[in-house]
Symmetry: C2
């Protein structure tokens, strides 16, 4: 059973302030909860509707904690998404990782929109990109909209928060690709397997102080009239070009 205090506590985690104070965040919905149960994240609470429990006995039994059963309407009142009548988990944040990778990774400079960050994480997971390095100003990883948009991919992706000027300087021996409006046609770039791809802010692009650290500017050819593409879409198109067999 869920006490009044539990309910209040879980609802408080919708605010970044409380997530950061407690080192906890919430995961909502069937897809994300199932992916979570399949990951190494540690759970504090697992709250389910009876229907969800019946449908996913096996996955739920494999979890180390005892689920709390609630009515569907209690569930939808508990989280950020009122359409969720399946499951909600309260999860411990992971300790920040130290970056050691030499594979192709993404660098996000000031991606503010949680939906964009979430879909970019999902995209990274699609292409097998394991690491996403984010500027301090990029959206919070554990914002409910990031988790929802990532569709479970957030539990398979290593996320780092770094000063990007410092990070790129440390990695200056690698190719550092940047999505810019006046670079080489992305269709003609031969991407290196250990490269980094820098994606800039939705409105202002890559910060001027990072531009000088970019070794290869790449551009998606335009035929029509839109001034630019959505940052997440541009990331998708470039990644498809990075990983295609020419």
């Amino acid at each position: 059973m869920l006490t009044k205090n539990n309910t209040k506590f879980i609802k408080s985690l919708q605010l970044k302030k409380f997530r950061q104070k407690e080192g906890l965040f919430t995961v909502e919905g069937a897809k994300n909860t199932l992916e979570l149960l399949n990951s190494s994240y540690k759970l504090k609470y697992l709250i389910l509707s009876e229907d969800f429990l019946n449908r996913h006995q096996k996955e739920i039994n494999s979890s180390e904690i005892e689920p709390i059963l609630v009515k569907e309407k209690e569930l939808s009142a508990l989280g950020a998404f009122q359409t969720n009548t399946d499951a909600l988990a309260v999860v411990h944040e992971k300790t920040p990782l130290t970056y050691h990778s030499k594979s192709f990774d993404l660098v996000l400079d000031d991606i503010r929109d949680p939906g964009n960050l979430g879909t970019i994480i999902r995209l990274a997971d699609w292409y097998g990109i394991q690491n996403v390095i984010c500027s301090d100003t990029t959206a919070e990883f554990y914002n409910p909209k990031v988790i929802s948009a990532s569709m479970g991919s957030i539990f398979r992706t290593n996320l780092y928060r770094r000063d990007l000027k410092e990070f790129l300087a440390e990695n200056k021996k690698r190719k550092i690709y940047g999505a810019l409006l006046e670079g080489k046609n992305v269709h003609q770039v031969k991407f290196k397997a250990n490269g980094l791809l820098v994606i800039g802010n939705e409105s202002h692009g890559i910060h001027p102080e990072l531009i000088s650290l970019i070794t290869d500017s790449v551009t998606i050819p335009k035929i029509g009239h839109a001034e630019s593409l959505n940052a997440a879409m541009a990331t998708a198109i470039i990644c498809d070009n990075v990983f295609r067999k020419h």
Copy 2:
């Protein structure tokens, strides 16, 4: 000056019910308003901050209607986006068009998320795709989030609402490409210049009743683990492959 009745009327247009009753919608923000002024859409009201008027005298003078000046905080209270302190226009919907195109066009089967619809319209405009044909269940064209996400591209794109089964049957002599999880590798497809690309619903993909009308299924190769890609991102990747010079 803006009367109390005007304010009430404009605010009512945030609801679909009133937009449809009046045949009017609102456009907010600097970028979208400037693109609107450059289009053939007819304005009912043009409401500006003094600062915006001073920055864009020329574009505003070219409009056929007299702008109404308001304080910035009045502007941000008037629309759906509180960050807007530049401009808000009330615009007449266009009469639905009849489709006659033989160029490469997009067909959206049940794209529910207004942000996805808006960014797909922006993408279409980037690639010079002039027509986007939408199922009845696809998001409303004049939802403020669609207009905002389109970044002005909605004023350069022809939007149609059709029964897609009927529409595809009428166009059965053309190649009808569909984004599906088990189709031909998109990197190996030679797209026809008069083809149609069908994109399915965010959760359920293309409706079964349309699948039989698809002549060529295409798939984006996956390397990692995500189950699927966001619908708008998948559209972006496929369009880049349609328009690339191999």
